[in-house]
Amino acid sequence: MTNAAATLKRWETLMFALLVVIIALNSLDSRYFLSIGNFINLFQLSIEKSIVVLTMTLVIIGGEIDLSVASVMGLAACVAAWTFQHGAPMPLAVLFALVAGVLAGLNNAFWIAYIGLPSLAVTLAGLIGYRGVARILLEDRAIGGFPDWFNRLGQQAMIGPLTASIVIFFALFVFFAIVLHGSALGRLIYAVGSNVQAARYSGVRVGIVKTDLFVGSAFVAAVAGVLYAARLGSVRGDMADGFELDVITAVLLGGVSIFGGKGNLVGVGLAILVILNLRNGMGLANITGNTQNYVIGGILILSVLAPNVWQDIRNKWKGRGT
């Protein structure tokens, strides 16, 4: 146990050190970097992904994966736009979008928790299927012209310089940190993630925990999808396409084990900051988005590889000593 705690500690120290180095390099590189405006901008540009990262963390710690989040984001945005276009007032349209998200989550949860199918396969079907429904609704049209208050939701500062999306992100971060690290459900998620059989034999209602995870994941993805629509001001069928990879990358970089049971939200929060600052810094240094993508891919692999190699070297060293 102390060993695991030490490893976790090391992970967050690593992330934090990385973050400090990146911020230091960035502020040396560009004098615009250390301004409030830049930081807000930094958050705002991919705030929807950051929101979904929070629930993905819980899902992966629970030993599962949800590949359908980006499609649920797209679906929710398309449902909102479609119902709005067909005469529903905007608040009702948003409600429909959130309901669509919950239904998608219930569908995932049904197959995973009660039929017992692997979440990778079910949510892969969801990734393709929910995107399909979104496409059926909008085909290749783009729908915009939402009411002003809705567009302001995504674009205008609400509290001080913070937009609604950023406020929601921080509120959800605190909420999910409490759920994961301070509630009974959180303990159950870790239990199910580290050993589902043991959890079941100890009387954990695994089905309910998994249902909570997938419905929560899809609901938050739907919220993020609506916020994305509000920020862009118009909706298309291919909205948020491919976001799932970035979201999963952030979670894994945050030190969460893909096999479940290990990781925490602090590490993931640091990972989000590392990715955002890295992208922003590289952007200010005129490095293209493409190069940014593979630098982050490389950091993802290295972040898991480096501790493993380190461990191997230490083991060899110890072996030689005795």
Partner: protein, 347 residues
């Protein structure tokens, strides 16, 4: 144990049911679409399925060992683009050499994946999610946003997709589809009968047990990724031959189609069971639906929704029906063993 149970394994029933599903789909579409039963339909489906099939064979081997390779789309794009550039600048290159270079290039990228998973002990999802971005990123950077165009390619390559290998009456088996079939047959036979290939199944069913009996766990996992990379490289060459115009976006998102084919084909995502033929049937079923829904005039937008549902049903039927079948077979076998001594005691 009756005759049927002795000669057919539950997994084969699964493949037969997939085949039946394909036949039903063809019959349904045939009754809905005028002039559906033509060789043009066949060719269209066959050429759209060929590339996915070849890559799905490699993916099957990786999935059998309880891993996954999400970087195949990037490997296909990488090899399609660079082999295309090579052929475009050396038009006189030996065709066989070009294919070998494509396969080696793919295998090289597979070596990186395999080494990181097997010896770096980094989970396959993490490695291949990373290399998905890295391979594509390197491709985009090195290409300088140029594209390979058909008019820069030699004639043999442009003619290749239309090349008719086995003319049966007026039915053509074209080169790319024939190649895919050969790969499937080779790998199916290999995976079924080579003792080396049975290790993929052993390791996927129970890694700890496989290691205890002395199987080289890391070596086999590494090898699976290298083969998957090599076949993705071949897939890249096929993509170059089929489309001629190759941008840096070639093959983007292909990994989802490939994983879908593998999953629909009944390969267990947790490793240890499934066949290469199943993966091909999965690819054929998806390809048939894709091409036929398109012909039916149903908006292409419906395709994904149908496909998602299909994957779900395939996996669900695999889990529910196949489990029962296996239990049935196991019971029959136990009975056979229990009955055996009785017969032996009365000579």
């Amino acid at each position: 144990m009756n005759w049927l149970q002795r000669h057919i394994r539950p997994e084969q029933i699964r493949e037969l049911s997939l085949l039946l599903l394909i036949v039903i789909a063809i019959l349904v579409f045939g009754s809905l679409i005028d002039g559906y039963y033509t060789f043009r339909t066949f060719n269209r489906i066959a050429s759209s399925v060929a590339i996915i099939t070849v890559v799905a064979v490699g993916q099957t081997l990786v999935v059998l060992t309880r891993n996954i390779d999400l970087s195949v789309g990037s490997i296909v794009g990488f090899t399609a683009y660079f082999v295309g550039t090579l052929i475009a600048s050396y038009n006189s290159i030996n065709p066989l050499l070009a294919v070998v270079i494509a396969i080696l290039l793919g295998a090289g990228l597979g070596v990186v994946n395999g080494a990181l998973v097997a010896w770096g002990k980094v989970p396959a999802v993490v490695v291949t999610l990373g290399t998905l971005a890295i391979y594509r990123g390197v491709l985009v950077d090195l290409s300088g946003a140029k594209t390979v165009t058909t008019d820069s390619l030699p004639q043999w390559l442009i003619d290749l997709p239309l090349l008719n290998v086995v003319p049966i009456g007026s039915l053509d088996i074209r080169a790319l589809f024939a190649l895919a079939l050969i790969i499937v047959v080779l790998f199916h036979l290999g995976a079924s009968y080579l003792s080396f290939a049975r290790r993929f199944y052993a390791i996927g069913s129970n890694p700890e047990a496989a290691q205890l009996i002395g199987l080289p766990l890391k070596g086999v996992v590494f090898f699976a990724f290298v083969i998957c990379g090599a076949l993705s490289g071949l897939g890249g060459f096929m993509m170059l031959a089929r489309f001629g115009n190759i941008t840096v976006e070639a093959g983007r998102g292909l990994e989802l189609n490939v994983v879908a084919a593998v999953v629909v084909g009944g390969v267990n995502i947790f490793g240890g069971s499934g066949t290469v033929t199943g993966a091909m049937l999965g690819a054929v079923l998806i390809g048939t639906l894709e091409q036929s829904l398109f012909r039916l005039g149903i908006s292409e937008f419906w395709l994904n929704a149908v496909l998602g549902l299909l994957i779900l049903l395939a996996v669900a039927s695999d889990a529910v029906i196949l489990q029962r079948l296996r239990a049935l077979w196991a019971r029959a076998e136990l009975k056979l063993i229990a009955d055996a001594p009785k017969k032996g005691s009365q000579p």
